[in-house]
C-alpha cells in the first residue's frame, strides 16, 4: 500500500482530567509528537470527551488524519471509534484516517510509576500505523429493493413491514399460496403470555391479505430461487416460476373447473387426508385467491377450458424466469419436520401413526378420519427425534425442538374438546417443557384430562384394534399401552438448505443458519452482510416469535435499503490479480462470503467484506491485502513499540483481537488491576486470525522476545472460526519451535473473552517470567 504523498497528521493529547497527566508527562509527549514525521499540529486537551468538539474541528483544519492519545477507542464509555468516525466525517475527513494511542485503559490504568516512556512508545505505534492509513473506498450502491424468500408468517411480516416503509419487495413462495405452516394449523396458541388460541382461518388470511394489498410487494407464488449470487455489492437473483395455467387476474375461484376435472390427486395442504383435482384450490382461504393447476397431474384433457366462465385457463402457459437485483435478502424459508421413517421403532408406516402436522389437519377435520377408523384413544409422544443425544443424526437430533410440548398439549386440548370421552395419554421424555406462562397453564389444565406418562417408546406394533406401544419407564420397567392413534411430536429442522448453501451462510451442524457475533445484539443478521434470517428457519418458533423476527429483519434491511448505499468499512480486503494463484484458499476461509473466483482470480466484493483479514492472512501468494491492516503496518508498529524498553527487559507483544481480547486488556485497567509489566505492548488486530504464522516469525525476527496472541473464547469468534484457526496455527508453530529446540513458551495462544482480564494479566505475567528465564530471543535482531 502506498502512503499518501504527504500525510498531514494532527495529534490530540488528552490528559483525561489529569488521570493520564498524573503518570505521563504530557508536555514531553506533545513535544515528541510534534517531531514525528508528518505531524503538523499537536493540541493538548483536558477532557476531550466532555468538550465541545468545535475547537478540535477548528484546530485541525488542514490535517488529513488525526491521532488521539487518550482513552480506549474500544472500551471508552465516552469517546469510542464510532464517535471519532463521526467527528472525522463532520470535519470532512475520511473516517478511516485516525488511530488511537490507548494511554488510559492500557497504560496509566494498569501500571504504576512514571509511564512517559511507555506512553511515548504507544504514541509512536499509533503514528507508525496512521501514517500509512488509506481512506475507505467510495460507498457501494445498494439496490433499494428486498427479496423475501418464503411466504410463511415470518416472510409475510418482513414483506409488509418493508413495503410499509417504502421499500419494493419481491416475495418468493414455492407453494401456490401464502401462509406457510401457519395457515395449516387450525388452532394456534397465541403467545407464551396469554393462554388462548387464534384460529388460522381468521388470522392467516388477515396477514396474507396485507401482503396482497401492498402495492410495493410483488408476490411470486409457485416460484423458487434458482440462483442467488453476489454481484457488485448486491444480490443477483434468478427466480423460476412455474407456468401460470390459471390467470389469477381473471380467476374468480368459482370452482367450476375442479368440478369437471377428471384427475384426482392428494391434497398436500391437508397432508393427504383429502383429495383435490389437478386444477383446484388447495384450501378455500388461500391467497392469492385463485385456482391453480398441477402440471404433472393434468392430462391436458381440456374439460376445464370449457367451463371456466372468465376464460382464465391457458393450458399452454410456460414457466417463467425472473431475474432481478436486490440490495437485501430475507430468508424465511421456515421449518421442515423430521423424516419419521428414519425412526423405525415408531412404525410411522402404519396409518395409525401420525406426524404432528398431520394431526393438525385431522383436528381441522374434527378428528374424522376419511377412511373411518376409531379415534377414541389418542396417545401423544413428545420428543420424536428431538433430544436424542447419542443417536446418529438425522435419526435423532440432540436439541430440543422447543415448541412441540406446548403444541402437543394444545392438540390434546383440541382433541378433548372434540371428543370429551376420548382417552388421551401423553408420553414424555423426562420432562414436559411447556415454557412461559400460557403454555404451562395449558399443561396444568390438561392434567385433568390427559394421562402423562414418563417413558420412552421403544416399539410400536400394529394391534387388532389400533396400536400397541412398548414403553420403558425411567426405572427401567417395561409397559404396554394400547391406543387407536399415536401422534408424534417430531423434531423440526430448517427448510431451504439449498439456498442456505448457495448463500454460503454459516450454519450449525444441523444446517440451521447462524447469526453473526455478537448474536445477542444482532438477531436475524446472518454471517453474510444484508442477508437476514427470520422465523423458523433459525430454529423452532411460535408464530408470534416468527413474526417478531420478520419485523426485526425488515427494520435491519431497511436501514440499507433506505440509504441506497453501503458505506465500506475502514478495513476491507483487496486482491492483486497479478499475484493470485487461484488456489481458492481465501474463498474457503472467508466467513462472510465476500470472495468468489473469477477467470482472473479471486475477487472480493467489498460491500460484503467485514474486514476480518482471514483471507489475507491465509493467502500464501500474498495476493490479498487488508486495507489499513497490512503486514507492513503491523511491522511498522512493532519496529517502534519497544523504543523505550531497557535493553535487557524482555519485549512482550500482545496481539489482541479486535473485540474480545483487546477489550479484555482494557478491562484490566477499568477494573483497577495493576500489572508491573511495563514491557508489554499490545496491537489491536482485526481477528486473532488476521495475523499468520509467517508474520509472527517476522515479528520474532525483529527482536520481540515473546508474543501472546489472543482471540475470542470458543464459539464466540466474530468471524466464525478465526480463533480456532489461530489456535491451530500456533500449535503447529509451537511444534516447529520445539522441534528446533526453542521453548514454545515464547509464543502463546490464549482464548481471552472480555471478562477474562485476570487471565490475560496472568498470561502476561507468566510470559514475562518465562522470558526472563529464557533470555533474549536467539533468532531476533535487537529492536
Amino acid at each position: 500500500m502506498k502512503n499518501a504523498p504527504n500525510p498531514r497528521i494532527g495529534v490530540v493529547v488528552c490528559s483525561c482530567g489529569g488521570q493520564i497527566a498524573e503518570k505521563v508527562n504530557v508536555e514531553v509527549l506533545a513535544e515528541k509528537a510534534a517531531e514525528l514525521e508528518g505531524v503538523v499540529k499537536v493540541s493538548r486537551v483536558d477532557n476531550l470527551c466532555r468538550q465541545d468538539l468545535s475547537r478540535i474541528k477548528q484546530d485541525f483544519q488542514g490535517c488529513d488524519r488525526l491521532l488521539f492519545a487518550g482513552c480506549s477507542e474500544r472500551s471508552s464509555l465516552t469517546f469510542t471509534e464510532d464517535r471519532i468516525g463521526a467527528l472525522l466525517s463532520e470535519m470532512g475527513l475520511n473516517k478511516a484516517m485516525f488511530e488511537v494511542a490507548n494511554l488510559r485503559e492500557q497504560c496509566v490504568w494498569i501500571h504504576d510509576g512514571d509511564l512517559t516512556g511507555k506512553a511515548l512508545d504507544m504514541l509512536r505505534m499509533a503514528h507508525a500505523k496512521l501514517k500509512s492509513n488509506l481512506p475507505t473506498p467510495d460507498p457501494v450502491k445498494i439496490m433499494p429493493k428486498s427479496i423475501v424468500i418464503g411466504g410463511g408468517p415470518a416472510g409475510m411480516q418482513a414483506a409488509v413491514d418493508l413495503a410499509a416503509a417504502g421499500t419494493d419487495v419481491v416475495l418468493v413462495e414455492k407453494r401456490a399460496y401464502l401462509g406457510g405452516h401457519f395457515c395449516q394449523i387450525p388452532y394456534l396458541l397465541q403467545c407464551e403470555g396469554w393462554p388462548a388460541m387464534c384460529v388460522s382461518d381468521c388470522v392467516a388470511p388477515v396477514q396474507a391479505r396485507k401482503v396482497a394489498f401492498s402495492p410495493r410487494v410483488k408476490i411470486l407464488t409457485n416460484a423458487e430461487v434458482a440462483d442467488i449470487a453476489r454481484e457488485n455489492g448486491n444480490f443477483r437473483v434468478t427466480i423460476t416460476r412455474q407456468a401460470r395455467f390459471v390467470d389469477p387476474e381473471r380467476c374468480v375461484s368459482c370452482g367450476k373447473c375442479a368440478e369437471v376435472c377428471p384427475v384426482e390427486m392428494q391434497n398436500e395442504y391437508e397432508y393427504g387426508w383429502t383429495k383435490r383435482k389437478a386444477i383446484d384450490k388447495e384450501y378455500r382461504l388461500a391467497i392469492p385467491d385463485t385456482y391453480t393447476l398441477d402440471s404433472g397431474a393434468c392430462t391436458r384433457c381440456g374439460e376445464c377450458l370449457n367451463v371456466c366462465p372468465t376464460g382464465a385457463i391457458d393450458l399452454d402457459a410456460q414457466p417463467e424466469i425472473v431475474e432481478d437485483t436486490f440490495g437485501t435478502v430475507i430468508l424465511a424459508t421456515g421449518f421442515k419436520t423430521l423424516n419419521l421413517n428414519t425412526l423405525e421403532e415408531l412404525n410411522y408406516a402404519s396409518p395409525n401413526v401420525l406426524s404432528s402436522m398431520e394431526m393438525e389437519r385431522l383436528i381441522a377435520a374434527r378428528l374424522n378420519r376419511p377412511g373411518g377408523g376409531e379415534v377414541e384413544r389418542i396417545t401423544f409422544m413428545l420428543c420424536g427425534g428431538s433430544r436424542s443425544a447419542g443417536k446418529e443424526i438425522p435419526k435423532g437430533m440432540p436439541y430440543c425442538s422447543k415448541t412441540c410440548c406446548s403444541i402437543a398439549v394444545k392438540q390434546a386440548n383440541r382433541a378433548a374438546a372434540l371428543k370429551p370421552h376420548a382417552e388421551i395419554a401423553m408420553i414424555y421424555f423426562g420432562d414436559v417443557r411447556t415454557y412461559g406462562r400460557a403454555f404451562e397453564q395449558f399443561y396444568n389444565d390438561a392434567k385433568d384430562y390427559v394421562e402423562f406418562i414418563n417413558g420412552e417408546v421403544v416399539r410400536v406394533e400394529d394391534a387388532d384394534a389400533g396400536l400397541k406401544l412398548h414403553l420403558v419407564t425411567p426405572d427401567g420397567e417395561t409397559e404396554e399401552l394400547e391406543t387407536d392413534l399415536l401422534v408424534l411430536a417430531e423434531a423440526l429442522l430448517p427448510q431451504g438448505n439449498r439456498l442456505i448453501e448457495k448463500l454460503k451462510l454459516k450454519t450449525d451442524r444441523y444446517s440451521y443458519p447462524l447469526e453473526v457475533q455478537p448474536r445477542i445484539l444482532r438477531p436475524t443478521e446472518s454471517f453474510i452482510d444484508r442477508v437476514y434470517i427470520a422465523g423458523a428457519v433459525t430454529g423452532p418458533k411460535m408464530v408470534q416469535e416468527s413474526i417478531e423476527q420478520g419485523s426485526a429483519a425488515a427494520l435491519r434491511a431497511l436501514q440499507h435499503g433506505a440509504k441506497g448505499e453501503k458505506e465500506l468499512l475502514k478495513f476491507v480486503s483487496e486482491v492483486d490479480p497479478e499475484r493470485c494463484s487461484h488456489c481458492r484458499i481465501c474463498e474457503t476461509v472467508c466467513p462472510h462470503g465476500a470472495i468468489r473466483m473469477t477467470g482472473e482470480g479471486a475477487a472480493v466484493d467489498q460491500a460484503f467484506c467485514q474486514g476480518c483479514g482471514l483471507c489475507a492472512s491465509a493467502c500464501p501468494s500474498h495476493a490479498i491485502r487488508l486495507r489499513n491492516f497490512s503486514n507492513a503496518q503491523i511491522l511498522d508498529q512493532v519496529a517502534v513499540a519497544f523504543s523505550e524498553v531497557n535493553g535487557d527487559e524482555p519485549k512482550i507483544l500482545g496481539l489482541l483481537c479486535y473485540w474480545c481480547s483487546y477489550a479484555s486488556a482494557d478491562l484490566m485497567g477499568v477494573n483497577g488491576l495493576k500489572i508491573p509489566q511495563q514491557n508489554f505492548r499490545s496491537v489491536r488486530i482485526r481477528c486473532s486470525s488476521s495475523v499468520n504464522a509467517g508474520l509472527l516469525l517476522e515479528i520474532f525476527k525483529m527482536g520481540v522476545d515473546g508474543i501472546i496472541i489472543a482471540g475470542c473464547p470458543p464459539k464466540n469468534c466474530h468471524h466464525g472460526s478465526g480463533n480456532y484457526m489461530t489456535a491451530k496455527r500456533v500449535m503447529l508453530l509451537n511444534t516447529v519451535m520445539r522441534q528446533l529446540g526453542l521453548s514454545a513458551g515464547r509464543l502463546k495462544w490464549e482464548y481471552i473473552g472480555v471478562p477474562m482480564w485476570r487471565d490475560l494479566a496472568k498470561a502476561i505475567e507468566e510470559m514475562d517470567r518465562t522470558l526472563r528465564k529464557l533470555g533474549p530471543n536467539p533468532f531476533g535482531r535487537s529492536l
Partner: protein, 324 residues
C-alpha cells in the same frame, strides 16, 4: 561465436542433480557446441587443482548443486565465486538447503553421535569419530570440517540465478540451458527459473477445487487419493498452494502431493509458516460446536511439522536451526 565457459560442482546433495543434467537426453550431445566445460568432478575427470588453476573471473557461469555442510563445500563455493562471473544455484539443496537441510533440527554433535554411536546399524566398538585432523604413525590426515549447520548456497556466496527442483524438472533444465547465454551476459530474464505463482495455478487439478475445507487430514499412506480432485481438498497436505509452479505438477500427475521442492512463493515471509497457517485454516470439522481439544485433533496427522512444512527449506527459514 565463442562457447560459454562453465564449471559445475556438487555440495551436500544426493547426486540426483548431476544425474538430472545427464538425463536431458539428446540435448546433452549438443551441449559441447555451445558450452565448454572446464570443471565437473562428478561427471568428468577433474581435480581440485584444475579448478584452482582457472584465472579469477575467467569462467562465465558456475553451476553448483547441493547445500553447504562442510568446510570444503564452503571453500569450493567461494572459489567458484572468484572464478565465475555468474553463479547458478542448481536444485533445491543449493537454492534453499534442501533435504540435507533437515539436519538443522539437530546440532552437529547430536548428528555425529547418532551416526557413529546410536544408529541401530552401527558397530563402533573402538568409538571412532571422524576428526578434522587425525594422525597415525607420523601421518597427518585431514577431513573437511563438519560445520555446525547446513546452509543454502546464497547463505555462503552471492547467487545470481536459482534453478529450483528436487531435482529440477527436464523442462526447467532445458530452460536453464537455453538461458545460459543470457545468464552469462548477466541479462537473464528471470532470476528464478520457476513461476512466480503457486503450483495450483498450473495444476491440472486446479479447476476441480471447490473451496471446501477438508474435514480430516490424511498422511499420504492413509488414503488412496482420488486421481481427479485437488489433493488438498481430499485432506492431503499438498503444498502446491504455497510452492512456485514450474515443475509441471509432476508429483500431482502421479497422484502424490506437492512437497514444495520448487520453493516458497516470492512474497512469503517464511518458507513454511504460511503454508502452515493456510493448512490450519482450511482443515478440520464442525468447528463451531466442538470444544478446542477436539478441534486440534485434525492436526494429529501432522507427525513431523518441520518435515511437512520445511522439507526443502529449513536452512532458509526464519528459525532455521537448532541452537546447541
Amino acid at each position: 561465436m565463442s562457447r560459454i565457459r562453465i564449471i559445475l560442482n556438487w555440495g551436500a546433495s544426493c547426486g540426483g542433480c548431476d544425474v538430472s543434467i545427464l538425463d536431458v537426453g539428446r540435448a546433452i550431445l549438443d551441449l559441447p557446441e555451445s558450452v565448454e566445460i572446464l570443471y565437473w568432478p562428478v561427471a568428468l575427470d577433474f581435480k581440485r587443482q584444475d579448478l584452482e588453476n582457472l584465472p579469477d573471473g575467467s569462467v562465465d557461469v558456475g553451476i553448483i548443486n547441493g547445500a553447504v555442510r562442510t568446510a570444503e563445500q564452503e571453500e569450493e563455493a567461494r572459489i567458484f565465486r572468484t572464478k565465475c562471473k555468474q553463479i547458478v544455484a542448481y536444485g533445491s539443496c543449493a537454492c534453499f538447503g534442501g533435504i540435507p537441510g533437515l539436519a538443522n533440527q539437530f546440532t552437529s554433535e547430536e548428528l555425529l553421535q547418532r551416526a557413529y554411536f546410536e544408529a541401530p546399524s552401527n558397530v563402533n566398538e573402538e568409538g571412532t569419530m571422524p576428526q578434522p585432523v587425525s594422525g597415525q604413525e607420523g601421518f597427518s590426515l585431514t577431513l573437511p570440517e563438519f560445520l555446525p549447520e547446513v546452509r543454502s548456497l546464497e547463505q555462503v556466496v552471492p547467487v545470481d540465478c536459482y534453478v529450483p527442483g528436487c531435482p529440477p524438472s527436464n523442462s526447467t533444465i532445458m530452460e536453464l540451458l537455453g538461458a545460459l547465454g543470457s545468464i552469462a551476459a548477466g541479462n537473464a530474464a528471470k532470476k528464478v527459473l520457476a513461476s512466480d505463482k503457486a503450483l495450483c495455478y498450473d495444476c491440472p487439478r486446479g479447476k476441480t477445487k471447490e473451496a471446501k475445507k477438508a474435514a480430516t487430514l490424511y498422511r499420504p499412506h492413509e488414503i488412496i487419493a482420488g486421481s481427479e480432485h485437488c489433493l488438498l481438498e481430499q485432506g492431503i497436505v499438498c503444498l502446491g498452494f504455497a510452492t512456485r509452479g514450474g515443475c509441471g505438477a509432476r508429483c500431482i500427475n502421479v497422484n502424490m502431493p506437492c512437497r514444495g521442492c520448487y520453493g516458497w512463493l516470492p512474497a512469503m515471509s517464511d518458507p513454511g509458516a504460511e503454508a502452515m497457517s493456510a493448512i490450519a485454516s482450511i482443515t478440520g470439522e464442525w468447528e463451531d460446536y466442538l470444544q478446542p481439544p477436539k478441534i486440534m485433533e485434525v492436526l494429529e496427522a501432522v507427525k513431523d511439522a518441520v518435515g511437512i512444512f520445511y522439507p526443502f527449506s529449513l536452512p532458509s527459514a526464519i528459525i532455521n536451526r537448532k541452537r546447541g
